[in-house]
Amino acid sequence: MIDKKYIQLIHKKIDGEIGPEERSNVQDYLSQNAEARAVFRELMDATELMNRMPPVEPPREMTHRIMQSIDPSRYRVKVKTGFRFSQVTSWFLAPNRKPAYAFAMGLIIGFVLYAALIVVFFKGQSINLTDVYGTISNVDKKTIETVNTTPLNTPQLKGQIDLKRLEELIWFEISLQSDNRYDLTLTFNEDDLKFIAYRPSRAAQINFVNQQGTIKLIASEHIDFDLFFNKDKDAQAYCNLELSISEKEVYREQFQIKK
């Protein structure tokens, strides 16, 4: 019967992995145990026989046979030959494009919001008070409301007074003709109507004065002119117009401009 511990040492000795103390130990044991010596001899023979067996040569064409059986293009690097759709899609599908997508989305949203603000904000701000003629010229004429049309046909004074409106832009289109000198006085509440501009299109000699809610104009012959006002959107405004010749009233009218 062989001590299991010594079987381990015998194998270690065969492997050449035994220390001096263990070698001495197992040598002593082998010298005293015939069975152990027999096992040791058998193991040494088996090991020696295996170690002596020469390697087997593979056939000469082995390498060629292997290389012929693989696909050489499997890992071939694709050569870029100009712009391809796949290059475009692969760019868009690359995982590191998220910041670019986020930026682009931000631009699109910003543009949409800006466009919406433009529509909403300028819907009520289509009138440019610094360029009332430009505003009137550019808008659709159907949007201009004629509030009042007053023809004048007196012996001393002829003409027409039109009151027109484009939202809160109010203006008088006045055409007057007389052989005499005449005075025009237009009074209005400055809280409700703010005078913007006087635009003569035909004026011989005109003396024009604007003073604290009163416009006075002295003219003769044929004149055409416009008077522009900006109405307070919450106010119902009134204008009183008076025409006189030699201090004698020839025409008076009150114009009402609704909210």
């Binding site: 090991t47 026989l49 002596r52 067996m53 087997v56 593979p58 059986s69 890992y75 690097v77």
Partner: protein
């Protein structure tokens, strides 16, 4: 040095340089062929299995992790493929029954070629696990640590199983009267 070189060759293969794979084949084909041959004891089968091992290695290069030794990886593939092949072929244990001592006289000697044949046959009488251990240790000259890495088992387990394998082989050879002339 070869270990780092193998990893570099794999990287070159993955970049489409087929010559790098041919270098790997030239470097390892004889070792793999011998491993497979010793496991299956059939020259033709060893050729087929060796070829399939390298095809599998080539097709799975992307899965190779450079932190492991290349030969450990390829040995593992070769051992598994050989065992699978043997299971399919069902090498009979009839060898054990039909095998007879060429010469029952223990004092007679054999020429080396005959001895190799008998030792190989004796190896085939062991189970595949024991055979694998003996082939790796005595034919591939692997250390216990390398065998542990290849087979994925603890070094202590490798040693104890190898000792058992040696003892079994030794008994078979002794019964057949096969021994060294020394």
């Amino acid at each position: 040095m070869f270990e780092n070189d193998d990893a570099r060759l794999v990287q070159k293969c993955l970049k489409g340089r087929i010559q790098a794979f041919e270098t790997l084949v030239l470097r390892h084909q004889k070792t793999i062929f011998n491993l497979v041959y010793r496991m299956c004891n059939d020259y033709d089968d060893a050729q087929d299995i060796t070829q399939s091992v390298f095809i599998k290695v080539y097709e799975n290069l992307k899965s190779y992790k450079s932190r492991y030794k290349f030969y450990s990886w390829i040995y593992r593939i070769a051992i598994n493929d050989t065992i699978n092949h043997l299971m399919k072929k069902k090498h009979s244990t009839g060898l054990k029954e039909t095998f007879k001592a060429i010469n029952s006289d223990p004092s007679e000697t054999y020429n080396q070629r005959e001895i190799s044949t008998h030792v190989q046959r004796a190896l085939m009488m062991l189970n595949s696990d024991y055979r694998t251990l003996l082939v790796l240790k005595h034919f591939q000259d692997c250390s216990y640590q390398e065998m542990s890495q290849i087979l994925g088992i603890a070094e202590k387990t490798v040693k104890s199983r190898l000792y058992m394998a040696r003892q079994q082989l030794a008994k078979i050879l002794h019964k057949q009267g096969i021994k060294t002339n020394d």
